[in-house]
Every structure is written in structure tokens, then in C-alpha cells.
């Protein structure tokens, strides 16, 4: 596959995602982001995986903000627009460090929009705590890798949840964004291993040992070896990300979308069960009175 063809298609995927963003259609934006990744894995340029990966994250951030009816949604969108603009500019001279730095800048700016009012008023930035927490979490992941052999675990999601929460509330470094991105990519692959947990031959253990656990060490290396953001080896980071995204998209080709356990949708308003019962009763009574014939 010609690199220039892939690049051309990538530009179009980004353009489509930006349009979906403008129309607040974040589900569609997510689809275009997936496409951007699915198309670039047919080539060889590892860094081209970044735009699609970041766009998917952005689609998910704005989808949640939109669902929560965040009051400053338009101000939050200004940051998204600015990032999408920088992504388009980046394509003319694609530098992977700049791509990560721009994404990190966006992530830092948008985090306060994802916080609740109470969180925003109570917590301040604490990068030193975040750094310590990141190292602890990555070490914890490495030290408890056997948990991943239990098909019912949610270990990667749990680690990711903690890292994202700490970043949101206390801020974080680019290293933290790199760690969260790689663990997320690994989790997407891991989700597909459920097909083996369900199969009669039960190859699940073997697959986890071969295809997931080795990445824990590689992720820990690229995240923990550098002692500051400046020391991050982005070629190594992108190489891991590329492999994981490639695996994930290949899994999609083979197994398509996997049904997943869904959490109940968060509703803005909760109708108490008692109120539902009362309404049902009064409506039934009203309808029965309505159709009652005179004797």
C-alpha cells in the first residue's frame, strides 16, 4: 500500500471527524476515528496511528460532556476545535512529539470541564502526587499481572480508571497521557480475548500470556524509564501503540463488535419507583372509568 494513499485517506478521515464534531455527532466522530486507525494499519508508518487514536478519545470526551449537559459546552468545544485545527496543521509536517504534546495540551485544558463543581472548587493541581500515583499504578499492574488470567477481571479498566481520575482531578504529565493511551489500547485488545474464554478449548490463559502480559513490561518501560516528559522516546511509544491498534483492528475484522456488559445509562432525572407506581395506578383508574358503560 502506498504511503501517500494512506496519508490522503487519513486526511479525509480527519476532515469527516471534524465535521461530525461540529455537528455534535460524537458517535459518528468515533466511527471516523476508528476508520482513521483501521486505514493506517494497512501501511507501515507507525506515527499515522496517532490522529485516529486521539480523535477517538476526543469523541468520547465530548460525548460524555454532551450527555451530561455540561453548562459550558460551547467553551469546552472551543478547545476541541483548536485541537482539531492543530491536528490538521500537523499533517503537513507530521512530528510525533508535537502530536503527543498537542494532545496533552488539549487534555489538560479539557479536564476542568469534566470535573464536577465540587471537584473543581476543592482540588488543586498536584503534579507531584500524580507522578507518584502513575508510577505506583504501573508497578501495581506489573505486580498483579496474574489477575488478567481471570476472565471476569476488569483490571486494565480499573487501572485506567484510577489514572484518568487522578489526571482529571490533580492534573498530570505527558507521561501520564502516554500510559493511559497505551493501557487503553491494550484493554481494547484484551476485550477481544473474551472469545477464547467462551470457547470450548479454553485458550484464554495461553492467549493472555502470549498477547497481553508481554505488553505490560513494554508499557512500563516506555512510561517509567523516562524521568521527565522530555525524555520520552516517542518512536518507542508509537511502536507499541501501533502494534496494539493493529491487533485491535484485526480483531475487529475477525470478530466485529463484541457485545459488552453495559452500565445503565446515566439519566439526568430519576423517577422514584413509588412515583411510577402512583402514576400507573392513577392512569389505570382514569382509563377504566373512561370506558365504563352505563348500566
Amino acid at each position: 500500500m502506498k504511503s501517500q494513499d494512506i496519508f490522503q485517506v487519513l486526511r479525509e478521515d480527519i476532515k469527516a471527524a471534524a465535521k461530525a464534531f461540529e455537528e455534535n455527532d460524537f458517535d459518528e466522530m468515533n466511527i471516523f476515528a476508528n476508520r482513521a486507525m483501521a486505514n493506517v494499519i494497512m501501511g507501515e508508518t507507525t506515527k499515522y496511528v496517532l490522529p485516529g487514536f486521539f480523535l477517538k478519545d476526543i469523541a468520547s470526551v465530548y460525548r460524555i460532556l454532551n450527555l451530561r449537559k455540561v453548562k459550558a459546552f460551547e467553551t469546552a468545544k472551543s478547545h476541541g476545535r483548536d485541537y482539531l485545527k492543530s491536528l490538521s496543521n500537523l499533517l503537513s509536517d507530521f512530528d510525533e512529539r508535537t502530536a503527543w504534546e498537542e494532545y496533552h495540551k488539549f487534555d489538560l485544558r479539557i479536564r476542568k470541564f469534566t470535573m464536577s463543581e465540587i471537584e473543581e472548587s476543592a482540588y488543586g493541581e498536584n503534579l507531584s502526587f500524580s507522578e507518584g500515583a502513575l508510577e505506583w499504578m504501573v508497578q501495581y499492574l506489573l505486580g498483579n499481572e496474574q489477575t488478567l488470567l481471570n476472565p471476569n477481571n476488569r483490571f486494565l479498566k480499573g487501572v485506567l480508571n484510577e489514572i484518568v481520575r487522578i489526571f482529571k482531578v490533580h492534573g498530570g504529565s505527558l507521561r501520564m497521557d502516554v500510559a493511559a493511551s497505551l493501557i487503553e489500547a491494550l484493554d481494547r485488545c484484551y476485550e477481544y480475548l473474551e472469545v477464547y474464554a467462551e470457547s470450548a478449548s479454553n485458550q484464554f490463559d495461553e492467549k493472555v500470556r502470549q498477547e497481553i502480559i508481554p505488553y505490560l513490561k513494554r508499557i512500563a518501560d516506555v512510561v517509567l524509564t523516562p524521568k521527565s516528559d522530555e525524555e520520552i522516546d516517542f518512536s518507542a511509544v508509537d511502536a507499541v501503540l501501533w502494534e496494539l491498534v493493529k491487533k485491535w483492528r484485526e480483531c475487529f475484522i475477525q470478530y466485529m463488535e463484541r457485545p459488552r456488559a453495559e452500565l445503565p445509562a446515566e439519566k439526568a432525572v430519576r423517577i422514584p419507583e413509588e412515583a411510577k407506581k402512583k402514576i400507573s395506578e392513577s392512569l389505570t383508574k382514569a382509563l377504566e372509568t373512561e370506558v365504563k358503560l352505563e348500566k
Binding site: A72, E74, A268, V269, I271, P272, A275, E290, V291
Partner: protein, 282 residues
């Protein structure tokens, strides 16, 4: 009903009135009404003979009987709609041709079968036009689109565009991203506007933008442009005053929490911030 509404509002202190109404309606449509209809006893339906006999007697009958005839027709209509909706709730689609052809071919099923009449261009069948009905009402010809009176719509509610809109136009958008103090102010203005006007019923469009004068290089103002569909002049003026007060309050709030370094920047933004209401040309 008021008590129930209060109960819901108490359980959701942070929810706006619109949110509560929306969720209440959606719950009625999706949970309560289907549940009630499923559980309700079938409506006793008058027999065809009863109806025909009532129809023939009606013209000479005293008023009381006429009323009873009307009531029979009403219940008959209601039973038809009721059966129709119940069959839909049983997950039979209106488009399920196999089901409906069976219904038409085997009228013995009719005790639980909704009855359909073809939709006419100019009129709909109802009990009051019974006399004009040429064919047997229990075996209607199945030619066109099925029609029923949707006293409960099964279709998704049409979502009308929100009456309230807030947008930040370029180049202000770019400035907001790069200037943290301006961002705080714009964000707070947006939050306050949404809090105050989201429930507006009259269309209200607010746009924040930068206005510049090419002749005067450094002349620059941040405008909150108000476009209200309010036709009454006084009401329009009152919307303007409210928006203006909210903007001032938003800036004041930020000023209160600002660091000493941020204060001069806020004052300078405050001097540049204006609201502007558009009026239709005379």
C-alpha cells in the same frame, strides 16, 4: 399529580424543570402507559349486531338512547385503538404483512384483532360516520396504508430545535483557548446564560464574538449578540437587561476569585465586553 411532581423534584434537586418534564413524559410513554395497557382488562366491545341495531333505532329514538348509541360508538372506537396498541406492544409491527394478511383472511380471530380501515384522503372513519360506511366494517378492504387513531403515538417524539442557543464565534474562539482569564469569563458567562435561559420558550440565540474596526487598529470589543424572537418590545428589552446583568455578574464572580495578577486583565476584558440586541428594521 402535583404531589408526584414534587416527589420527583425532591429526588432530583439539581434537575431543571424542563429535564423533569422531559423525563416524566418519556417515562409515561415508555414505561407507564405500555404497562397500564398490558395489564388492563380488555374493554368490553359492543357486538356488530348491537351497533347496527342501535344505528337503525337511533333516528327515532329519544335523546337518552341517542346518547347511549354515541357512547357505544365511542367505546367501540376505543376498543379498536386499544387492541391495536396492545398488538403493537406485543411487538407485532404494523409492517408485519404476514400477520395482517392472516387477520384479514381469518376474521374468526377478530375478538382480539384490531380492525383497520383505509385512510381516505379527506376523512377518517369514525363512529359518527357509520351510516356512510358501505362495506362490512368488520372486513375492511385492505388496499392502502393502514390507519389508526394514534391516541398514544408509538413513534419517537419529534425533537424540535432547542429555543436557546449559545455559540462562540471565531476569532474569539481562538482567543478563548489561548487566554486563560478570558476563558474563565466566557465559560462563566455561558454557564450563567444556560442557567437563566435554557428554559426559555421564545427562541433566543446568543453569540459571543469579537468586533473590530479596521480604521482604528486597537479598537476591539467582545460582544454578546442577542437575537430574540420576542415580538413585544418591552419583553425584548427586559431580556436584554437580564443578559446584561448576567454578564456583569459572571465577570464579578471571576473577579472575586482572581489573583492580584489577574485583576487588571479582568478589568480590561470588562471594559471591552458589551451586549447587543438586534431589532428588526423599522
Amino acid at each position: 399529580m402535583e404531589l408526584i411532581a414534587t416527589e420527583i423534584a425532591n429526588a432530583n434537586p439539581g434537575a431543571s424543570r424542563d429535564d423533569i418534564v422531559r423525563e416524566f413524559l418519556s417515562m409515561l410513554e415508555n414505561y407507564v402507559v405500555p404497562d397500564v395497557l398490558r395489564k388492563m382488562r380488555p374493554i368490553p366491545r359492543p357486538s356488530p349486531a348491537q351497533l347496527k341495531s342501535q344505528e337503525l333505532r337511533m333516528k327515532r329514538a329519544p335523546r337518552g338512547r341517542r346518547e347511549r348509541y354515541k357512547q357505544l360508538q365511542y367505546v367501540y372506537d376505543l376498543a379498536i385503538q386499544f387492541d391495536m396498541i396492545r398488538s403493537q406492544l406485543g411487538e407485532r409491527e404494523l409492517s408485519d404483512a404476514t400477520y395482517w394478511s392472516r387477520v384479514i383472511e381469518y376474521p374468526s380471530d377478530r375478538s382480539t384483532t384490531p380492525l383497520f380501515v383505509e385512510e381516505e384522503a379527506s376523512s377518517q372513519w369514525n363512529g359518527r360516520e357509520f351510516e356512510n360506511f358501505q362495506t362490512d366494517p368488520y372486513k375492511p378492504t385492505f388496499r392502502g396504508r393502514l390507519f389508526y387513531e394514534p391516541w398514544i403515538s408509538s413513534e419517537e417524539r419529534i425533537v424540535s430545535p432547542e429555543p436557546f442557543g449559545f455559540s462562540i464565534l471565531e476569532p474569539l474562539q481562538g482567543t478563548v483557548v489561548s487566554d486563560p482569564v478570558l476563558e474563565k469569563i466566557v465559560r462563566n458567562v455561558e454557564v450563567r446564560m444556560r442557567r437563566s435561559f435554557t428554559q426559555t420558550r421564545t427562541k433566543l440565540d446568543l453569540r459571543m464574538l469579537i468586533r473590530q474596526d479596521r480604521e482604528i487598529g486597537d479598537w476591539e470589543k467582545i460582544i454578546l449578540s442577542i437575537d430574540s424572537e420576542e415580538s413585544d418590545f418591552d419583553k425584548k428589552m427586559s431580556v436584554w437587561e437580564m443578559v446584561d446583568a448576567e454578564v456583569m455578574e459572571a465577570i464579578r464572580e471571576i473577579e472575586e476569585e482572581a489573583s492580584p495578577e489577574e485583576r487588571p486583565v479582568i478589568s480590561s476584558i470588562k471594559r471591552k465586553m458589551f451586549t447587543d440586541m438586534s431589532f428588526p428594521p423599522e
